[in-house]
C-alpha cells in the first residue's frame, strides 16, 4: 500500500486528473482532423479546378456553336440561296423589263446583318426613353 501511495505521489498532479483520457482523445481527434484538412483542401481545389475546366470547355463549345450558327445564318442569306428560294419555292421569275417609278418615300432600311460583323458605329443603339434615363439616376432600394 505504501508502495502504491509512493507511486501515486510520483505521478504529476496534472496527470492525475480524470479528464486526461478525454483530452487525449480530443487532441488526437483534432490532430487527425488537422492532418486531414490539407487533403480535404486539395480535394476541394482539385474538384473546383475540374469544374472550371469543364465550364471553360462548355463556354468554348457554346462559342463554337454560336460561330457555326452565325455562319449558317450568313449562308442562308447568300445570294445564290435567295435566288434559288425565290425561283424554286416562291416561283418568282426574272422580269423581262424594268419599270421605274419615281416615289416620294424614303428608301427601305438596309438589311440586318449578323451583329458579329457590324462595326460599333453601325450597330443599332439601345433605345432609352427620357423616363428611363431619369430613373437611371435614382438609387434603387
Amino acid at each position: 500500500m505504501a508502495a502504491n501511495r509512493e507511486g501515486s505521489s510520483a505521478i504529476p498532479e496534472v496527470l492525475q486528473d480524470s479528464n486526461i483520457p478525454v483530452i487525449l482523445i480530443l487532441v488526437t481527434l483534432i490532430v487527425g482532423v488537422a492532418a486531414l484538412l490539407p487533403l480535404v483542401q486539395t480535394s476541394l481545389a482539385t474538384s473546383t479546378g475540374g469544374n472550371v475546366s469543364r465550364l471553360e470547355q462548355l463556354r468554348e463549345d457554346w462559342q463554337a456553336r454560336l460561330h457555326e450558327q452565325e455562319l449558317t445564318v450568313a449562308t442562308l442569306g447568300s445570294l445564290d440561296r435567295i435566288e434559288s428560294e425565290a425561283q424554286g419555292r416562291l416561283k418568282m421569275v426574272t422580269p423581262d423589263s424594268v419599270i421605274y417609278l419615281r416615289v416620294d418615300a424614303p428608301a427601305p432600311a438596309p438589311n440586318k446583318l449578323p451583329s458579329r460583323y457590324l462595326t460599333e458605329e453601325t450597330r443599332p443603339a439601345e433605345s432609352e426613353s427620357l423616363w428611363e434615363e431619369f430613373f437611371g439616376w435614382v438609387p434603387l432600394p
Binding site: 481545389a45 482539385t46 479546378g49 475540374g50 472550371v52 475546366s53 468554348e60 463549345d61 462559342q63 463554337a64 456553336r65 460561330h67 457555326e68 452565325e70 455562319l71 450568313a74 449562308t75 442569306g77 447568300s78 445570294l79 445564290d80 423589263s97 424594268v98 419599270i99 421605274y100 417609278l101 419615281r102 428608301a107 438596309p110 438589311n111 446583318l113 449578323p114 460583323y117 457590324l118 462595326t119 460599333e120 458605329e121 453601325t122
Partner: protein, 581 residues
C-alpha cells in the same frame, strides 16, 4: 587460429570493398544522370509531363462593302493522337475504327500517319466540325485529344474566288487577299504549356503558362457582293454565248476608285481548291492584275484624251481620212479597210478609225503622247495592294531608245503594241469619269480590329487631264454610244458612254496569234454623274470577234442591273406612261 582470423578479415574487407565499389558505381551513375545528362533527361521528362499547344484565335472575316461575309472562320477540331498510345496494333486499329466512324476519315490513313511520325503527338484528322468534335470527345479514347482550331468557309460560295484566295492547313493565306492581308486577318498566335497526367489530360493544378492569342481583324472590302455576282453571271453568259476561252469584268466607282467587282474566268472552286494538280494552279491567279493584253481600240480614248488636253484638236476639228497611213515602211489601215474622206475628231471615236488615232498621236508628239500614257497609269503597277500585279509594257523613246520606232507610237495610238492589265485600263476610264483625276484602286474600305476600326480613305494619284477635257471626252463617248446598235448595246433609261475594242493577241515570239482576238468594252454610266466605270474583256470568242457584239451586251445587262441596284434614278425619261399605256 591465426589463419582463420586472416580469412575472416579478408572476407570483411572484400565485402566492404564490394560495398564501396557498388557505392562508387551508383554514385557515378547518379552523377551521369543528374549532372552530365541532366539536360537530356529533363527534356525527355518535360516531353512526357508537359504538353504544348499553339493557340490560334479566330481568323478575321473578309466582308463585302455592306458587311456580308465572303470568307469567314468557324471552329474546327483537329484530332491529336499520341504515338505511344497506338503502339499496340490491335488497340490502335480499334481506336482508329472508332474515330473513322464519327469523322468519316480513313482508319488506314490515320494508322499510317501515326506509324510514320517521330513526334510525340500527331494530328490524324483535321477540320472536324462542332458535332464531329463532340462525338470524338465522347469516345474518350486513350491518348486521343481534340485541338481546337478554325476552318475557312465561304457563305457566298465561289464568289470572287481569285480575288479572295484561300488559306492552307495551318490557316494562313496562300493566294489572293487571304495572303495579301494575312498579317491583319491572322492575328497573333498564342502558346500554352501545361503539365499533364499519364493519359495526356491537363492537370488541374499543374504548372501552366499561357500567352493568349490575339484574334484577327475583320476586313471590309470595297467589293459589293451583288455587283460581283452580277459581273460573274454576265461574264459567264458572255463566255458561253460566244464560246470564248475566258474573260474579265471590272466595275469601278469613279469618285473613289473603289473596286465594286472584279471577276475573271476561268476560275476554280475556292471551297475545295485542288492543290495536287500543278496545271490547275494557273486558275488561282487573279487575271485582272496578273495578265496583260493589247487593249485595241478602247485605248483610243486615251489617245483622244491626250490630244484634247494638249489642245491640238477639239471634237469638231476636221481631218481627211485617206484610209491608210504610211509610217516608215509600214502601212496602217482602218479596221474595215475604209477610206472615209473628211471626218471630224468625234468620228475618229465613233467610227473607231485607226488612221485617225495615228493622226492624233502625231499631233500630240511622242513626248506628249507617252506622257499622257504614263499619267493615266500605264506601264507601272496601279498599287492596288494585290500581290502578283504586273507593270504592263509601254515602249517609249526614253525607255527603249534603241528599239523604239515611230511605228510603235502609231500602233500604240489604237491600242496595239502596248500591254496593259485590265485593272489599269479600267482605272484609266474611271479617271475620265472622275473629272480627270486618276484614283488609286481601293479594295479595302475598313479594318475592324479588336482595338477599333481603321477606315481607308480614297486616294487620288494625280490629275491626268483637266475636268473640262474629261467632260468633253465623256460627251464624245456618249455620242459614240448614241450611234451604236441598240441590239447589242443599250441601257434603257440611262445616258451612258463607252468604247468598243477588238484586238489581236500577241504571242511570245513577237507576232500575233492567227484568228484569235480579245473583244472588249469600256463604259461609263450614267453620263451626267458617273456612278460606275465598267470594263468587259472577253478572250478569244469563237464567232464574230467585234467588241460591240461580244462584250457590249454583257456591259448593257450588267449596267442596267447595277444602276437599279444602286438606286440611281434614270437619267432619261423612262416612259412610265408609255409602259402603262
Amino acid at each position: 587460429m591465426g589463419k582463420r582470423r586472416f580469412t575472416e578479415v579478408w572476407r570483411v574487407w572484400a565485402v566492404m570493398a564490394a560495398i564501396v565499389l557498388a557505392t562508387v558505381v551508383v554514385t557515378l551513375r547518379l552523377v551521369q544522370l543528374q549532372i552530365v545528362d541532366h539536360a537530356q533527361y529533363a527534356a525527355d521528362a518535360r516531353l512526357i509531363h508537359f504538353g504544348q499547344d499553339t493557340l490560334a484565335d479566330r481568323r478575321g472575316a473578309l466582308l463585302d462593302r455592306n458587311g456580308y461575309p465572303l470568307a469567314a472562320s468557324e471552329a474546327a477540331f483537329n484530332v491529336m493522337v499520341e504515338k505511344r498510345a497506338w503502339e499496340d496494333p490491335a488497340e490502335a486499329q480499334a481506336a482508329a475504327d472508332s474515330l473513322a466512324e464519327v469523322t468519316d476519315a480513313s482508319s488506314a490513313e490515320m494508322l499510317s500517319i501515326v506509324a510514320d511520325t517521330e513526334a510525340f503527338e500527331v494530328p490524324v484528322v483535321r477540320g472536324l466540325n462542332y458535332g464531329q468534335g463532340v462525338a470524338v470527345r465522347e469516345l474518350g479514347l486513350y491518348g486521343v485529344r481534340l485541338l481546337e482550331g478554325s476552318r475557312r468557309t465561304y457563305p457566298e460560295g465561289n464568289l470572287a474566288a481569285q480575288l479572295l484566295g484561300f488559306v492552307g492547313q495551318e490557316n494562313s493565306g496562300l493566294t489572293g487577299l487571304e495572303i495579301d492581308l494575312d498579317s491583319i486577318l491572322g492575328g497573333n498566335p498564342g502558346q500554352v504549356t501545361y503539365e499533364r497526367d499519364g493519359i495526356g489530360n491537363q492537370l488541374a493544378f499543374g504548372a501552366r503558362s499561357e500567352t493568349p492569342a490575339q484574334p484577327g481583324a475583320n476586313v471590309v472590302l470595297s467589293i459589293d457582293r451583288y455587283i460581283q455576282r452580277v459581273a460573274e453571271q454576265e461574264l459567264d453568259r458572255a463566255i458561253s454565248d460566244n464560246e470564248a476561252k475566258g474573260g474579265t469584268i471590272i466595275v469601278i466607282q469613279p469618285k473613289t476608285g473603289q473596286v465594286l467587282a472584279m471577276a475573271s474566268r476561268p476560275t476554280f472552286d475556292v471551297t475545295n481548291p485542288d492543290l495536287s494538280d500543278n496545271s490547275k494552279q494557273a486558275l488561282f491567279r487573279n487575271r485582272a492584275i496578273t495578265d496583260t493584253y493589247e487593249p485595241g481600240s478602247v485605248f483610243k480614248v486615251v489617245t483622244m484624251a491626250a490630244a484634247l488636253d494638249l489642245g491640238v484638236v477639239s471634237p469638231g476639228t476636221w481631218w481627211f481620212d485617206e484610209g491608210v497611213v504610211h509610217v516608215s515602211d509600214w502601212s496602217i489601215y482602218n479596221w474595215d479597210l475604209s477610206a472615209n474622206g473628211s471626218q471630224t475628231v468625234q468620228d475618229i471615236l465613233s467610227k473607231s478609225l485607226n488612221t485617225g488615232a495615228v493622226w492624233l498621236a502625231n499631233l500630240s508628239g511622242s513626248a506628249g503622247f507617252y506622257d499622257y500614257i504614263n499619267r493615266f497609269g500605264f506601264g507601272v503597277t496601279s498599287d492596288s495592294g494585290l500581290s502578283g500585279e504586273v507593270d504592263g509594257r509601254v515602249r517609249t523613246p526614253e525607255s527603249d531608245p534603241e528599239g523604239w520606232r515611230p511605228v510603235n507610237m502609231a500602233t500604240n495610238s489604237f491600242g496595239q503594241g502596248i500591254a496593259v492589265t485590265p485593272l489599269q485600263m479600267a482605272m484609266a476610264v474611271a479617271a475620265i469619269a472622275n473629272d480627270g483625276v486618276l484614283m488609286k484602286p481601293q479594295l479595302v474600305n475598313e479594318i475592324v480590329g479588336p482595338l477599333g476600326t481603321q477606315v481607308v480613305e480614297p486616294e487620288a494619284v494625280r490629275q491626268v487631264i483637266s475636268p473640262e477635257t474629261a467632260r468633253t471626252l465623256l460627251d464624245m463617248m456618249g455620242v459614240v454610244m448614241d450611234g451604236a446598235s441598240t441590239a447589242y448595246i443599250d441601257v434603257p433609261g440611262y445616258a451612258f458612254g463607252g468604247k468598243t475594242g477588238t484586238a489581236n493577241i500577241a504571242t511570245e515570239n513577237g507576232g500575233y496569234k492567227p484568228d484569235a482576238y480579245i473583244s472588249s468594252f469600256v463604259g461609263i454610266a450614267p453620263l451626267g454623274e458617273p456612278e460606275i466605270a465598267v470594263l468587259v474583256k472577253i478572250d478569244e470568242p469563237a464567232g464574230v470577234p467585234w467588241g460591240t457584239v461580244v462584250a457590249g451586251p454583257a456591259f448593257s445587262r450588267l449596267t442596267q442591273r447595277v444602276l437599279a441596284y444602286l438606286k440611281v434614278p434614270p437619267t432619261k425619261e423612262v416612259f412610265v406612261s408609255e409602259l402603262l399605256d
